[in-house]
Amino acid sequence: MKKNTTSIRESFTDRIFLWAVYAFLCIVMLIVLYPLIYIVSSSLSSPEAVTSGQVWLWPVDFSLEGYIEVLQNSDVLRGFRNSILYTIGYTVIAVVLTVIFAYPLSRESFYGRTILMFFILFTMLFYGGLIPEYLVVQKLGMLDTPWAILIPKAMAVWQIIIARTFFQSSVPEELVEASEMDGCSSLKFLWYIVLPLSKPIIAVLALMYAVYQWNSYFDAMIFLKSEELFPLQLELRELLIVQSDSGANMDVAEQQRRTQLANLMRYSLIVISSLPVLVIYPFAQKYFVKGMLIGSVKG
């Protein structure tokens, strides 16, 4: 900005230091990017090339066999469909609950907001434990139903704080008072004034909840038994981590081809399952950063 007025020449050591900083950042970027490039390249190579370790940067013997194999796998497709449904349902429930809880907490004239804040912050300090949580879900008859995925993690304290901070700063108290004088009820005000003003925060919340749900496997693993209900991440765990190369009673050539294909399929699976998140990533990045910053103002 004021380059001319304060341009004291950079000293030699400062220039060296700056080069070191650039070099450091380049190395960091390479370390982060390399595994990702390697996975994508492998997923686009032939099964033989992957298994024999020929791929190291770009695809070798370009082929889509891995992807074809993945898209023919009915478990994966079912998991994909389930995950889409869970993510949509969960996000809607979570955003609605968060907004209707965070908005009153943001209003100064709302009696009881301090105690309610304490009520939710305390849950961050002390955790009842996995087993008592499991027993609650069991008692409610939610085990092995989609509800076990949609409800028990439906609200996060951090997201409530973010939403509350946003409402506090962007819905001024004067606006509330003015609307009250005009005889506008709290509910109408929330629906017609607050929500249209809050599109950015709703986007932030929706993205945070959606990414959480799309990526989570643990709740599904403990609460679900029927495979028809499994989300994608649980199918992935099955295919990528648990399953060892099987196929004992096939002839050697067929078995080898199978093993190679299964190996290749892992790379394609990784890419396909991360695709929805990667597609929204450039868009989501901005909102995530915004969300984190709003939260940390008062966090």
Binding site: T6, F110, S186, I241, S296, G299
Partner: protein, 307 residues
């Protein structure tokens, strides 16, 4: 007198906002059912829980389950594994984001800076299952790229995940790979808030870049550093066991079995509800004590804490 006015405030607020109070019922119920009921449900740690009699009806067992746990030599291994893993993780993943943020803060806004941020931030969005599968694929002794490189330079290939003494490093450094960019955001925001005049003053005084980092940047983001440190120490015993669990295999269990994976196996898989709740409760209480302790120290030393 005070009581009366409080009562009036409440009444006026309720008359004005009764619709909002009604709206809040479902979220409040949510917190009671899914957060507070499990807290009280943790009493089964002091009981012999059985399904027929339920949480309230089951007979009291005193400290039996705690005694059982601590008299088992496994207990100390679990506590040791949990602590070592989280201390190692803290030692790596706490300073790295600060260093990255300080480095990014040194260079001007531009395509380079934005791309570094965008790429380092990306792994945060990858799911735990996928991260673990990537680790398994990259480290595979047969076709993993790391071993290909080792063989290229004439070394023997190593079954990284099958070696107990490698587990912690794999866990911690993959976590650093995934989270550093994301965690740096908060420090970058704090750095953006550092007073520009101090930079100018330091420049005029002839301070080098390194001196400016040490004397302007770091003191400027100290409050953020302290708060993040408190939060991390408070979570010392609550490492993300979802990832630990996925990385476990029979060969690395001697270092990878931590309290929480043990609770899961004892409780959900073996249906040993009371015993595993006791172990989990022990974990939660240690966490709470750590958090309160660190917060008190931070407040005394630096003047700011969480509360």
């Amino acid at each position: 007198m005070k009581k009366v006015s409080q009562w009036h405030l409440a009444k006026r607020s309720f008359r004005k906002h009764w619709q909002l109070y009604l709206l809040m019922i479902p979220p409040i119920l949510y917190f009671i059912i899914f957060k507070y009921v499990p807290m009280f449900g943790a009493v089964i740690a002091f009981k012999d829980y059985n399904v027929v009699e339920g949480i309230l009806g089951s007979p009291w067992a005193g400290l039996k389950h705690f005694e059982n746990f601590f008299s088992n030599p496994v207990a100390w291994d679990l506590i040791k594994n949990t602590l070592f893993l989280s201390l190692y993780q803290l030692a790596v993943t706490f300073p790295l984001p600060i260093i990255l943020a300080l480095a990014l803060n040194e260079i001007k806004n531009g395509i380079f800076k934005r791309s570094v941020q965008m790429f380092t931030y990306a792994p945060y969005f990858i799911s735990t299952v996928v991260i673990v599968s990537m680790i398994i694929l990259l480290l595979s002794p047969r076709s993993g790229i790391i071993n290909e490189f080792l063989e290229l330079f004439g070394f023997d290939s190593i079954d990284f995940l099958g070696q107990a003494d490698m587990f912690r490093s794999i866990f911690v450094w993959s976590d650093a790979w995934q989270m550093t960019g994301y965690s740096a955001i908060i420090y970058l925001a704090a750095l953006a808030g550092v007073d520009k005049q101090q930079y100018e003053a330091a420049k005029i005084d002839g301070a080098s870049r390194i001196q400016r980092i040490m004397n302007v940047d770091i003191p400027g983001i100290m409050p953020a550093i302290v708060i993040i440190l408190i939060l991390s120490v408070g979570n010392l015993m609550a490492i993300g066991f979802e990832k630990v669990y996925l990385l476990q295999n029979p060969l690395n269990l001697s270092t990878s079995e931590i309290l929480q994976t043990y609770v899961y196996k004892m409780g959900i898989i073996n249906a040993n509800f009371s015993f595993s709740t006791a172990v989990g409760l022990f974990n939660s209480i240690i966490n709470l004590i750590l958090l309160v302790l660190v917060n008190a120290i931070a407040r005394r030393v630096s003047g700011n804490g969480l509360w």
